[in-house]
Structure formats: C-alpha cells, structure tokens
C-alpha cells in the first residue's frame, strides 16, 4: 500500500511555511547579516557596537525602563485583575474596558496626550515627562491591560470549589494568598515577562519622549544612516532577550490554556462597606492613566475644520490602515485557526514557542529583517507593495490568533470530532462542518484582536510600508513634526474610533463567549 500524504499534513506544512517566510526567514537573514561582513564571517559590527561609548548606556536605559514599567504594571495590574475577577467591586466590567483602551491605541497617543497636559500646566512641568519618568508612566498606561487581563483570566480560571474548600477553613485574604494567587502565578508571571519584552522593544514612546534606548539606536542606524550591519547588530541583543523571555514563558506555562469565563463565578472577596472606596481608588487610577491624557489629546479634535483638514491630509492613510489591518486580520485569523486546529494533538508547544518568539521580537528588529530579506530586484513585487507590511503583521501577531483559537478549541469536546470521524467525514469536512460553526465566536474574537493589533502597530508601519502608502499611525507621526495640534488631535480621534468601535464589538463577543460551549 503506497503512502498517501493526508490533506491536513499538507495544510499544516503550508501554514508553517507562511510563518517561516513571514517571520523566521527574516530573523535568520538578519542574524546571518550581522556576522557576515564583506564576504566572510566577522564580529566587527558587534565589536564596534560594544566598544561604542553610547551602547552600554542605551542598553542600561532599555533594561531600566523595562524593569520599572514591569514593576509598576505588576503593582497596579495584579491587584486590579484580582479585584475584577474575584470581588464584587462596583462597575468592574466598565473599569476593565476603560483601562484596556490605551493598549488598543498606538502607544505614542498616551505620550502625546500627556504632552498636551503638561503644555497646559506650563513649561517647567514638562521636565518630568520628557525622560525616564514620563516613559515609565506612559508605557505603564499602555501595557497595564496585559497584566490586568492575564491576572483576571488566570484568577477566573481557578476552580471556585478549591477556593470554597479553603474558605471553610479561613478568611478570604488567606485563601487569596494560599490558593488563588499560587494557582494564578504562572499567568501573572507570563504577563510580567510579556510586558518586559514589549517595553524592551518599544520605539515610538521613548523616541517621542526623548529617552535614548536600544530600539531607537537600531531604528536610527536603519533609517537615518542606512547602515544595515550596525542596525542589525543593535537589534540582535533585543532578539536574544525576546528569545530568552519566551524560554522563561515556556518553562512557566507549559501547556496551560487561558479562557475567559464569567467574573461572577468563584466570587471570593466580598468588599462590603469598602466596595465604594475601592471603586473610587480604581476610578482615580483610570482617570490618571486613561481619561486625563486621552481627553487632553482629543480636546482639540471636535471641530469641523480640524476634522475636515484631517480627512483631507490623511484620509487615504485611514482607508489604507483599515484595509491593510482587515486583510492581515483575515490572514491571521485563518492561519491561527488552522495552526491551532492542526496542532491540537501534537506540535502545539513548538508552534506556540515559535509564534511567541515572533510576537516578542521587537517590531524594529522584524522590520529590519523583512527589508533585508525582500529588498532585491527579483522580490520587488513584495518589497514595494503592502505585501511586506502584511507579512510583518502576520509574523508579529500570529501568536495571538493561534492562542485564541487553541483556547476556543479547548471548549469544544473532543468527542464531537471523533463522532464525525467515525461517521466517515474527511478532515476538511470536519473542519468546515463541525469546527468552524462551533468556533464562530472564537473566530470573531481572533479577527478583531488581530485587526486592532495591526491597526495600532507603529514600527512595522513606519519601516515596512511602501513609499507613499503609509498607514495612519506612521502618517500621524510624520505630521506631528509640522501639523497643528487640532489636526493631530482629529487624526488621533479618527484612529481611536477605528480601534475602539471594533473593541466594543469584541467586548460583546467575549461576554457571549463567557458561557462555555
């Protein structure tokens, strides 16, 4: 009997090929280029970089910024995540979505908002914003949702019966300390590792707030000096840190899957008369981190002249942004769904690891790799078109849709597939007739999450968009140099609407998803 290659094997290899072409090949080329100088192996770029006087201070700044931001996100995000998951705090659902808003916007929006706040307060107050303190504040606002939401998901996933058993023997603080937190610890630690890695790779905020870090050096070498070797050498430590972070994540989490469940389940903490006090505290945090900067940013946006001007100057960029993000989201949803489905039984850890490495690798690093790989006359059909940007989005955010799909599959009993298999259905038939209809909500969530992430992305938009085809986040950055504040504010408002409207839909979809299938 001859060996036949099964359809699912072919599709799996095609999916892996997409991930390899979009993400792994550029990184490999970049790593190779950094040690290949004038036709032979050389560590010259690294030697020059390491011996350069500015390298180590920049490296130190990157680490310092990442550590401080991670600590602040942990200090605020973990307690709020626990409060949202386990307490009867008033308005917790509203607060949760409000605090999530900065994450769905390009990170420099919050920085821009704070710059408007300090402009109103006077020139002397800008000293603290433009530097280390300002960067920590802004990046904490942006990445707080990661620690908050992952803590929320981890704590929600703790079996309520375990807590109730503990509650029979002791008060809730003890149960929280001895049962809930230890069981949620891997998810919380993962969120902190993720924040650390995302801050290490952040470009737009440190560059706007004039705080010198490694990604800024890498970007400058690439965009201003056009020195690929030096840009790559500056980027490789960032890639290595991402790789290390993902290794730690793999060790911490192994095969755990996160699913969103109703916050009403396993309610542990009754705040009693402190309920309103804590609501006020969370409200103040929301005002400080979200409402104040964003209202300052959007204050000038609500004039017809400014909106008209914004549409005239950047209308095409808005359309491009939405279009590129929608195309990438569709590819990402399909890729994530197929990868999640095809690796249910084996290979999932490897796929998780590879896609998470690509997610953690800074956008600047990935962009340099993509440009280096595709910048040749025979591949200009990719390099000079939005395809390069879409490849970048696909590599960077594939982890998100894959993991969301895996979490969705976790809710579908395996026997439904087995029953279909025994009925004689082929793989494709089972996929389209059983899994797709049962995963509609997961697919919607994955599409919207991918769309929002692509829309808010700055480094890929800046470095890989074709000439004259820049998406809105890159266009706003360009216009910030000479555009009037009302024009910038209007553009930011349009951008925010393009992200927040789908977020509202996502909120509804997740609420519906809270009931396991």
């Amino acid at each position: 009997m001859g060996r036949t290659v099964r359809a699912e094997t072919i599709v799996l290899w095609l999916c892996l090929a997409v991930v390899a072409i979009a993400g792994l090949a550029p990184i490999a080329v970049m790593a190779f280029e950094s040690v290949w100088h004038e036709g032979h192996f050389s560590l010259n770029h690294y030697r020059e970089l390491i011996s350069a006087a500015r390298y180590w201070p920049l490296f130190g700044n990157s680490i310092r910024l990442a550590l401080a931001t991670t600590a602040l996100c942990g200090l605020i995000g973990v307690p709020t995540g626990i409060l949202f998951a386990k307490s009867d705090l008033s308005l917790r659902s509203g607060f949760m979505w409000l605090l999530t808003v900065p994450f769905v916007l390009p990170p420099y929006f919050v920085a821009l908002g704070w710059s408007r706040v300090v402009a109103h307060l006077g020139a002397t107050s800008s000293d603290w914003l433009f530097g280390f303190g300002g960067c920590v504040l802004v990046l904490s606002s942006v990445f707080l949702p990661i620690t908050m939401l992952l803590t929320f998901a981890s704590a929600s996933n703790v079996d309520g019966r375990l807590e109730e058993a503990g509650r029979l023997a002791s008060r809730w603080p003890t149960v929280l300390r001895r049962i809930t937190l230890p069981l949620s610890a891997p998810g919380i630690l993962f969120s902190l590792v993720l924040v650390f890695l995302l801050v290490i790779g952040e470009l737009s905020v440190p560059s706007f707030l004039r705080y010198p870090v490694l990604p800024v050096l890498s970007f400058t070498q690439f965009a201003a000096s056009y020195n690929f070797g030096a840009a790559t050498a500056a980027a490789v430590p960032l890639a290595a840190l991402a790789f290390l972070g993902v290794l730690i994540e793999s060790a911490l989490l192994q095969n755990r899957v996160f699913t969103f469940r109703s916050v009403r389940r396993g309610l542990l903490i009754s705040l009693g008369r402190w309920k309103h006090f804590f609501a006020v505290i969370v409200g103040l945090v929301s005002i400080a981190l979200v409402i104040l900067p964003l209202s300052a940013l959007f204050a000038d946006a609500f004039s017809l002249t400014a909106l008209h001007n914004a549409v005239q100057r950047a209308g095409a960029s808005v359309v491009r942004s939405v279009m590129y993000s929608a195309i990438a989201a569709t590819i990402l949803m399909t890729l994530g769904f197929l990868l999640g489905h095809l690796t249910r039984d084996r290979g999932q850890r490897l796929v998780n690891f590879l896609t998470l490495v690509l997610f953690a690798i800074p956008g600047t690093v990935l962009s340099i790799g993509l440009v280096r790989l595709w910048n040749s006359p025979i591949t200009w059909f990719i390099y000079t078109t939005p395809a390069l940007l879409i490849l970048g989005y696909t590599a960077q955010y594939c982890a998100v849709t894959t993991r969301l799909s895996v979490a969705g599959f976790f809710l579908i009993p395996k026997t439904l597939d087995e029953a279909a298999r025994l009925s004689g259905a082929s793989w494709a038939r089972r996929l389209f007739r059983i899994f797709v209809p049962l995963s509609t909500k997961t697919l919607i969530c994955a599409w919207l999450a991918a769309y929002i992430l692509c829309l808010r992305d700055v480094p890929l938009a800046l470095m890989t968009a074709p000439p004259g085809g820049d998406p809105l986040p890159a266009r706003i950055l360009t216009l910030m140099a000479n555009g009037s504040p009302p024009l910038i504010a209007s553009l930011c408002l349009i951008m925010a609407m393009a992200s927040i409207v789908p977020l509202a839909i996502l909120a509804r979809a997740i609420r519906a998803q809270a009931i396991p299938a």
Binding site: E418, A419, R421, L422, S423, G424, R429, L438
Partner: protein
Amino acid sequence: MNHIELDGVSKTFGERIVLNDLSLQIEKAERLVLFGPSGSGKTTVLRLLAGLEVPDKGEIRIADRIVASSGKNLVPPEKRDVGMVFQDLALWPHMTVQQNLMFGLTARRVEKREAEVRVREMLRLVGLEHRMEAKPHELSGGEQQRVALARALVSRPSILLMDEPLSSLEDERKRALASDLLNLQSRFGFTLVYVTHDQTETDLLASRVCRMRDLQPADQINGATRIVR
C-alpha cells in the same frame, strides 16, 4: 466465527499502563458487555476498536482484516464499519437531529433521497420522527440518547460500540432504552460491545460479560439476557 479479535494488545498513556497483553474474541452479532470499575481500561478497548487510539503492542482484527498492529492503525476509523455512542453522546450542538444523522450518510456519499429515507426510518425506529428539526439542547436526556443511538446506526455499521451511554438515566428509562437497543440489534444484527460499571445495564444487555480487572479481562461469563420484554 470471530468478528472481532484482540491479540496481546497493550496500551499505555505516558507512564500509566492502561491495558496489558489483552486478548479477546467477540463473535458476530454477540452482545459483549465490558464490565468493571473506573480505570480498568474498558473505554480504551472501545477507542482501540474504533481506531481513535493506536495499540502500543498487539494486533486488532475486524472481520478477518488486521485493522491495527503494534503502534500503527492500518485502517482509519471511518473505514472500520463501526458506529459509536459516546459517554457524553457528542451530538453536534449546531445541527438539528436530522442533520446529525444526515452528516455521516452524506460524508459516505449516500444519495440524498436515499439518505433522507434512511434517516426518517431510523428516527421512526427510535421513536423520534417528530423531533427531526429539533436541536440537541431542545431534547430531553432520554431523547438525546436515542438520537446518539440513531446516529451511530444510521450508516448500518456491523459493530456498535457504546461507552456507558445510559449511566445518567434513571432505571425505568434505562430499561426502555435497553429494550429498544435489543430490538434494533435483532433487526440489524450488529455486534455490540458495551462498556459499563453498572450491574443493571449488564443484566439488561449482555449475552456475554467480560469483567475487566487488573488491566485485562479477569473472567468471562456466558449468559442469556435477563431482560423481561
């Protein structure tokens, strides 16, 4: 004549040995009940027969054809001529009763008109013709069991595997369903392999009981069914 043969079959999951050198023969149209406590490997035997698991060692034959041998499934589940009722029933929640039954027939390329006739006939036999358009969640527990049974039998398999499908039902319903199952078996003549840890179900259904203990069958009891019909 033996319809199903397991010869020296072993199966482990990680470190845990689930079956150890199991040999078992089942005759055509026999009603074998695998009886035993949780963890004795009963469900694994069904899953091995269905092709949903691969034996680490040993050989499985169905109708004189080797379907699995030492670490390899030689015949995929869909080609083993096997129907299965799962413990959780595994009814597809997004499909109606009729669609649940049609799914397997259209997958096997049975002509649409003939498939519809067969579905209607099968639903009549289990007393659910009037519930064709209902979705699984609209049915009672007993009705869901009947749909699962009808779905497993609609493609007329020669072997029916049942994994404790009646465990959640009260005695009266259990007896009614067991009676229906025996009627269907005498009509279609399939070989039944039934897994349970419930003595009542064993008494109702078995023409032979295989007591599973210590990772292999401890003893086999031949006996007539004691159901009162």
